[in-house]
């Protein structure tokens, strides 16, 4: 349903162009859950932003159900069915949790309906629904609200940029359940950028991105042993044990 063909992206650095994404081609199938992993600074988040329309590639094509969306802006892509959960959620003075979930759902929700999404991400809804999305919320709380917004959108393609970052271990189990439920119930595809073995374990397919290129792509049985035989294998956090 999503296809990237020979996508490249560069940034200006010291007056010269530096290539961050190098000729990347990949596909995400209908109802597939793909986890993109790889070292920090390898281009994963940039790739997610390119799919959501936040960054524009210098070359290549992005197709959604065969339609070329390369030139479409953020709003247009959102309306065509792409959702994007930020790695670092944004704060808004004055807007409440209910306001944002209503915007995500595309209609004014009752407090009760907004609460359903909050319960899904493990937040006690009545404590949060009328809270402002401001500095009074912790990073972990914002992160869960960010995920609740994606649930409220219920689009055909949902992209999560490091959803585990800032989430404590207790809620981590809940997060896995959220993705599993989404995968089972929502008629759409899911792309998750993650370093966590437990998230890698629920993937239908894993794509490894390093140094701006696709290094490997395949089923977890093929990718995981190789991934953990390298440096990451010695890191317990990477395996979600700490």
């Amino acid at each position: 349903m999503l296809e990237l063909k020979n996508v490249s992206f560069q940034v200006e650095e010291n007056g010269a162009g530096k290539e961050i994404i190098k000729d990347v081609s990949l596909t995400v199938e209908e109802k597939e859950m793909v986890v993109i992993t790889g070292p920090n600074g390898g281009g994963k988040s940039t790739l997610a932003k390119i799919i959501a329309g936040i960054e524009k590639p210098i070359s290549g094509q992005i197709l959604l159900d065969g339609e070329d969306i390369t030139q479409c802006g953020i709003t247009e892509r959102a309306n065509k069915g792409i959702s994007f959960a930020f790695q670092q959620p944004v704060r808004f003075k004055g807007l409440t949790v209910k306001d944002l979930i209503s915007m995500a759902a595309g209609k004014q929700l009752s407090a009760a309906s907004a609460c359903e999404y909050l319960v899904e991400v493990g937040l006690c809804a009545k404590d949060y629904v009328n809270r402002e999305i401001n500095a009074s919320l912790s990073g972990g709380e914002l992160k869960r609200i960010e995920i609740a917004m994606i649930l409220a959108r219920g689009t055909r393609l949902s992209i999560f940029d490091e959803p585990e970052a800032g989430i404590d271990l207790w809620s981590f189990k809940n997060l896995i359940q959220v993705f599993e439920k989404m995968h089972d119930e929502i008629n759409g595809s899911i792309v998750i950028i993650s370093h966590q073995e437990r998230i890698l374990n629920i993937a239908d397919r894993i794509i490894v991105i390093a140094d701006g290129s696709v290094r490997a792509s395949g089923k977890k049985e093929e990718i995981l042993p190789e991934l953990f035989s390298t440096t990451a294998g010695s890191c317990k956090f990477y395996k979600g044990e700490e």
Partner: protein, 305 residues
């Protein structure tokens, strides 16, 4: 009252019909309708234009509406309203002024409101300003609010000016006694070539007194805003002033917070921030399917809510 006047009344006081409780509705320089209650008396001043509002001690959960409507182009007036709030009273006072200027002459209303808040009394004061009209005449509002709060009294002021006032200078001065407190929330939005100037000065004279002044404003087009907030801590007290402004287009915003501690146990804080809407806020809302313009409108609505 005609249709325009009724619409103004709804904008500034949320009134669709005659309110419950005490009220004085002023239209084009004259008192149009008035009602008093057993606990709240309204008396016309004899030496100058305006009214005295007397609220008996221990009056609970009553309200006073004193909206002003100007729909006659060229009318300029200064009105003095004094509120005498008895001990232990707990009341809501709703003021507000709407100007509809359909002509080419300046219309101006300067309301000078003085509040004497008795011991242990609690007042919520709501003031909303609004201007409209297709005329080229200026719409000017210069409210002055003077507040004296006696021991353990509480005063909360909600001041809103969202649209249509060409020029405003708002002066608020407060003096607080022992354990008295004041909370001021101001919301202003200016557009085109409007100017808005706000001046707060709070004297925390009493032991244990406190003040919290919060201003949120949005300046668009070529409009100009000045926010001046002074808190003087003259005893053991706590004061905080916050100014948060969103600037757009070619607008200009100046924020001058000033805190002065005259006592070693005065604890005073000021915060001021001016900036455009953050790019990441727009991006986030656009990923939810909103256009850039819709995202801006939502952010501003939320900010001024």
């Amino acid at each position: 009252m005609d249709g325009i006047q009724k619409q103004m009344l709804e904008e500034v006081a949320g009134l669709h019909e005659i309110p419950a409780g005490a009220y004085n509705i002023r239209v084009n320089g004259k008192s149009e309708e008035r009602n008093t209650t057993a606990n709240i008396d309204i008396v016309t001043k004899e030496d100058k234009s305006g009214i005295d509002i007397f609220i008996r001690p221990d009056t609970k959960n009553e309200s006073v509406h004193i909206p002003v409507v100007l729909s006659q182009s060229g009318l300029e007036e200064v009105v003095y309203n004094d509120f005498h709030i008895g001990e232990n009273a707990d009341v809501t006072i709703i003021a507000g002024c709407g100007i509809h200027n359909g002509g080419d002459q300046k219309s101006q209303h300067d309301g000078v409101h003085t509040f004497y808040v008795g011991k242990n009394a609690k007042v919520r004061y709501v003031e909303k300003h609004y201007g409209t009209g297709e005329g080229t005449g200026e719409r000017v509002l210069n409210p002055v609010t003077v507040i004296e709060i006696d021991e353990n009294g509480y005063f909360e002021m909600d001041s809103v000016q969202i649209k249509g006032v060409d020029s405003t200078k708002r002066v608020t001065r407060a003096k607080l006694g022992k354990d008295a407190s004041i909370v001021v929330k101001e919301k202003i939005m200016t557009h085109d070539s409007q100017t808005a100037q706000t001046e707060f000065e709070v004297d925390l004279d009493g032991e244990g007194s406190s003040a919290h002044v919060v201003s949120r404003s949005v300046a668009t087009n070529q409009s100009e805003q000045i926010f001046l907030s002074k808190i003087n801590g003259n005893a053991r007290c706590a004061g905080r002033t916050e100014c948060d402004a969103i600037i757009m287009d070619e607008a200009c915003v100046k924020a001058i917070p000033q805190i002065l501690a005259n006592h070693v146990d005065a604890s005073l804080i000021h915060e001021a921030a001016i900036g455009k809407i953050a790019g990441e806020q727009l991006t986030k809302l656009m990923t939810l399917g909103l256009t850039k313009q819709e995202a801006e409108a939502q952010i501003i609505d939320g900010f001024l809510k």
